[in-house]
Symmetry: C2
Subunit: 367 residues, 2 copies
């Protein structure tokens, strides 16, 4: 007998946690009864149950091992949030943090734990994290449709809700009205009289460039959000009589103020200088504002600035940032709830689009 190798030096020694089998032996009952003591109190007498708990306490058994239970039940009790990038970036982006807050609200409601899973991006192991996460389903956030990690998620055949990139037919998804929000932002600037625009954008493809992106590249953006926002700008700007081809669109490889600052430094050095800059996120907008400061430009006196996201810092920056509001927490909450519904056997439902809204604050004025 006994072929089983290394796993743990259990028994005797008090060390290493006890198993239900050991508790059962101690009390003189079967493991089934120990299991029932924890899971179905009505299945055994109160007295026996207490004796079991007492023995468990003595042996240091803290209840069913999650791994054994999960394997048997085919449920881990956790939902995974797949984030496109390294996890540490997620905590750096206020929009992502609010989204996570929403998802965690949904997880709490359902009594589920939250598992954070980084997308590949050349991390050690690529999609390995996705393949090795013991979760019952995924909320996929901020991952472009082209990202190989998406295939990994699909392969897992777990319930999935796609956020902000509602492609895949039949998939459950939730997003926001990116195009409408972006259009409103650009219209606002046009109405103020601006005609010289520039745009600071997210990366356009998985292999990002740093620098100006021509319209062809813009249209090949593999992230739906990005495409829609650019399209919204374009519609409004062309309506104002400015050819879209005249508008420099600067691609930043990362959604950080630092990248945007560098971008803006190039954009603001151009002659004639743009009088208004549209940023695809508030994070990017903050970087542009810093660059403007460096150039001795006042906002909104010399330069108008519009962001996207309405992160809480937007209201507190100086000047307060005009931006497109989107309901981050609600988006996370709804995404989480949709996943829970799927877990409970619900059907995919219709893709849902949450509204956006332009919030005019102090960073925009007539040129």
């Amino acid at each position: 007998m006994g072929v089983n190798p290394e796993p743990r030096k259990k028994k005797k020694g008090g060390e290493g946690r006890a198993t239900s089998k050991e508790v059962a032996a101690e009390v003189g009952v079967s493991v089934a009864t120990v299991s029932n003591a924890y899971n179905r109190p009505d299945q055994l007498s109160e007295g026996l149950r207490e004796r079991i708990f007492e023995a468990a306490g003595r042996l240091g058994y803290s209840g069913p091992d999650p791994l054994g239970r999960s394997l048997r039940r085919r449920r881990s009790g956790a939902i995974g949030v797949l984030y496109a990038d390294r996890l540490s970036y997620a905590f750096t982006d206020p929009a992502a943090v609010m989204f996570l807050e929403g998802v965690s609200l949904a997880a709490e409601e359902a009594g589920l734990n939250l598992f954070l899973v980084p997308g590949g991006y050349g991390l050690s192991g690529g999609s390995e994290a996705v393949l090795s996460a013991a979760v019952d389903g995924f909320v996929v956030y901020c991952v472009s449709a082209e990202d190989p990690v998406i295939s990994a998620v699909i392969e897992r055949k777990l319930p999935v809700v796609l956020v902000d990139d509602p492609s895949r037919d039949g998939a459950t998804s939730i997003g926001i009205d990116d195009e409408g929000g972006a259009r409103a932002a650009a219209e606002h600037l046009a109405e103020l009289g601006h005609r010289r625009f520039a745009v600071v954008s997210f990366k356009l493809t998985l292999e990002p460039d740093r620098g100006l992106a021509d319209p062809a590249r813009q249209e090949s953006a593999d992230n739906e959000d990005t495409r829609s926002r650019l399209k919204g700008y374009k519609t409004a700007i062309e309506k104002a009589g400015v050819p879209w081809g005249d508008v420099p669109v600067y691609e930043c490889p990362e959604n950080t103020p630092e990248e945007a600052k560098a971008a803006a430094e190039e954009l603001l050095a151009k002659e004639p200088r743009p009088t208004a800059i549209l940023a695809l996120s508030d994070q990017l907008a903050f970087g542009v504002m810093e660059a403007a400061k460096g150039f001795g430009l006042s906002i909104p006196g010399d330069l108008s600035m519009v962001g996207f996201d309405d992160v809480s810092e937007a209201a507190r920056s100086s000047p307060p940032l005009t931006t497109v509001h989107q309901p981050h927490v609600e988006k996370g909450l709804k995404a989480g709830r949709k996943l829970v519904a799927l877990l409970e056997g619900g059907d995919p439902g219709e893709p849902e689009l949450l509204p956006t809204k332009l919030v005019v604050r102090g960073s925009t004025a007539s040129p």
Copy 2:
């Protein structure tokens, strides 16, 4: 045969993901060989391996199921972060978010996933989340030594690192120099000439009060951080010749600006009005500043304000907040690394205390 009940309608139908057994049958090898194809490529011929992958693709097998693997290996590949409160609060507190950033950095380094676990606090199930999380170890954040969830963690007999509350003998822990930081903050105010102080504090016990806390209650605070910070204030203030008993300490049940605002409204209504307020966190300080605005008080003209944490908003608030800096990200990173070391069989090591530092900005001046 076949007693096993409901679990899943596998086989045929293409639906429901395949198992290694099915792949083995398809290829005509044993499950051991399928396992080897994924885990030990050197154990089988390249040709066979490819046939296995090919069959896996056809059957929709995406590699070893994490649950089965984890149970067998006795490793889940995830580290848990236990947060005292509801998870959604964690995402609301910038200090917690930075800490999580640090932990996620450590997790990434080690190729581990991050599991977020809410502490009980009357949530559905109390410590259930702790008991049911499939993790290899815990980083325990922001949980007071008295919290019952701590016992649940201990019971689990998993490697643990305690953050900010380095009690338990023999446990691995990391914290900051709370007392020194707080002392420096109060000394700074005393040197500016302040003599009428007030303090806005975290909750003192698991069953928090809202309102003034007398010294007895202060000393019974079950969170080490809180006790140490109050002690630091006390030392400096008494050194300045002000009896600690004269300093109102207002307990807020939650670490939110809203609570602090309400607290400050009471504090600022007192006669004589305090000329300086010390807050145990920046979050609380922000609330106090709002209240001051409501009273038409200028900062630092009418009221000096010192926070604690040096969250990134602190530098951007108006006026910029004088506060005690602590290295949140580094704390998380080190906590995570300590856990990883423990997981790899390292020993607990000495409790580590990271330095704090007063950062003087615009919210403090002479009375």
